[in-house]
């Protein structure tokens, strides 16, 4: 269930790399204009391109419809970054195609007919783009895309036309968060056509000091150019986070050490944990491991917990419907057990 996160590379500042391509089918109105029948036709059509044997070793893929999933199951997929909230707000008309280890998710009838997403642990934007391009070519082999020589791939929102590419890197930036530097980074990024957002994208808060850096401009630059500038910018942010950690360590070494040990203390012994508290403490522990201060906890355990403690994914780990307090109790128990 938490594949991607258990495979994640330790406690690195860079958590995952993600590529998303927006594509639409030629001469068919965009999803928000379609009724259920038409929407289902599109789901069948897109899934049809990926269900054959002719996939050159990519796949197999399976289709996920939301009608037969509970609300906790749906939201857990959002928490695992497989799908967007917007996709399930339109559950009767949408679907997603997943591969076995869940690093590919092809959302159908979200804002666009097709939103092809490839996610990889670590700093692997180029690899993820190549993989996404292969899948894109397979789909395009059987489906005519809405494409214009001047404007490129046409999308429902003009902010995505051109490459339809949104490349993003998920970063863990606790020291920059503590030193309140993220706002400054945001301003600088805006000037170069990029943005930094909270863990669940647009408008979300940055629980756990986890942020996403992504490109904003999709037209006028090639995919390679977009990725290269993102790589350059992310590398700089990583350097800044490292520098901020060093400053923190030099100036407030004892306080920092105390903070980090208190965090692990609470996580190990608390009987009730809200998701907000758990995420913030886990963030501290993750940084502590990376800085070599906390030595007796495995980074994989922390990464997995970051996903497991979130409300919907937590609900799935219980047989009965939980109240808020019930969830806090279960969350504390799961964290205690793991640590």
């Amino acid at each position: 269930m938490t594949n991607l996160y258990s495979n994640m590379n330790g406690s690195d500042i860079i958590i995952t790399s993600r590529i998303r391509l927006a594509r639409n089918i030629k001469d068919i109105p965009f999803p928000h204009e379609l009724d259920e029948n038409k929407s289902n036709e599109i789901i069948d059509k897109v899934y049809g391109t990926l269900s054959g044997d002719n996939l050159q070793g990519i796949g197999p893929f399976h289709l996920v419809r939301f009608n037969n999933l509970s609300s906790a199951e749906r939201f857990s997929m959002v928490e695992r970054h497989l799908i967007s909230k917007e996709l399930i707000s339109n559950a009767s008309k949408s679907a997603t195609i997943l591969n076995e280890n869940e690093n590919v998710s092809i959302m159908i009838n979200e804002e666009d007919h097709i939103r092809l997403q490839v996610m990889m642990p670590g700093f692997k934007l180029k690899e993820a783009l190549n993989y996404a391009n292969e899948l894109d070519d397979i789909i395009e082999g059987k489906i005519d895309y809405a494409f214009d020589n001047k404007l490129g791939y046409l999308t429902s929102c003009p902010t995505n036309v051109g490459t339809g590419l949104r490349a993003s890197v998920m970063l863990h930036l606790p020291a920059l968060s503590i030193s309140k530097s993220v706002g400054g980074i945001r301003n600088t990024l805006n000037q170069v056509g990029m943005t930094i957002r909270g863990i669940y994208g647009e408008g979300s808060s940055s629980e756990c000091s986890i942020y996403q850096v992504s490109n904003q401009v999709t037209l006028g630059l090639s995919e390679g150019e977009i990725i290269n500038s993102l790589i350059a910018v992310v590398s700089k942010i990583v350097d800044q986070e490292k520098a901020a950690r060093q400053v923190l360590n030099e100036k407030q070494g004892k306080e920092l050490e105390d903070d980090l040990y208190r965090s692990i203390g609470i996580l190990k012994y608390a009987r009730m944990l809200s998701s907000h508290e758990a995420l913030n403490l886990l963030s501290n522990v993750r940084m502590g491991i990376d800085m070599g201060i906390i030595k007796d906890v495995k980074p994989e355990v922390v990464n997995e917990l970051i996903v497991k403690v979130q409300p919907a994914t937590l609900q799935l780990q219980s047989d009965k419907e939980l109240s808020g307090a019930g969830r806090d109790e279960l969350r504390a128990a799961i964290v205690r057990e793991a640590l």
Binding site: D148, Y153, G162, L219
Partner: protein
């Protein structure tokens, strides 16, 4: 200065709007500003009102000088029946053809968003065949120019041959496309 809405708290949010040359001013306290729909621009000041794409659309239309072209609201897209009015309300176009139907409005808007209007990225393999070849030719022509400037004539000759070959391909492709029609 007191808030002009509640007249109780100190006004900390000051808004000056200039629409068609008419200037209006508002002075609100933080609470009233939060309630006020018109003050959506306040996110940069840290009040945290969601600031969506639709909110800025009208602003972009204003600077493009398109806000008064009411006649265009009569036009509807032949494929999805969307009007410009619908787009301004939802921030989304109805289908790919809308970009062509409303190109007078959409092209300046896209330019404002992205800074340019020429796609230079990936081209669909199957349906974008001709464009793909043309793009390759353009690239080679640039390389040809550089190698002539650098007096690398042997390399230039190689590139010239490549261009010839691609142009032949492009012509074939072109004829094939017309033949199908």
């Amino acid at each position: 200065m007191l808030c002009q809405n509640c007249n109780k708290k100190e006004a900390t949010v000051h808004i000056t709007k200039i629409i068609n040359g008419v200037k209006t001013e508002m002075h609100l306290c933080e609470d009233c500003a939060r309630e006020n729909q018109e003050v959506n621009l306040s996110q940069p000041f840290g009040i945290g009102i969601p600031f969506s794409f639709q909110n800025i659309l009208d602003g972009l239309f204003e600077v493009s000088g398109l806000e008064n072209e009411e006649a265009n609201d009569e036009i509807r897209c032949p494929v999805c029946n969307m009007s410009m009015e619908d787009f301004r309300r939802t921030g989304r176009v109805g289908c790919g053809n809308c970009y062509e139907t409303f190109k007078n409005e959409m092209i300046p808007l896209v330019k404002r968003i992205h800074g340019g209007v020429q796609h230079t990225g990936k081209v669909p393999k199957r349906t974008g065949g001709l464009l793909k070849v043309r793009r390759d030719i353009d690239k080679l022509k640039e390389e040809l120019k550089t190698s002539i400037d650098n007096e690398e004539y042997e390399k230039a000759a190689e590139i010239r041959d490549k261009i010839k070959e691609l142009e032949k391909d492009a012509n074939n492709e072109n004829n094939k496309g017309e033949g199908e029609k």
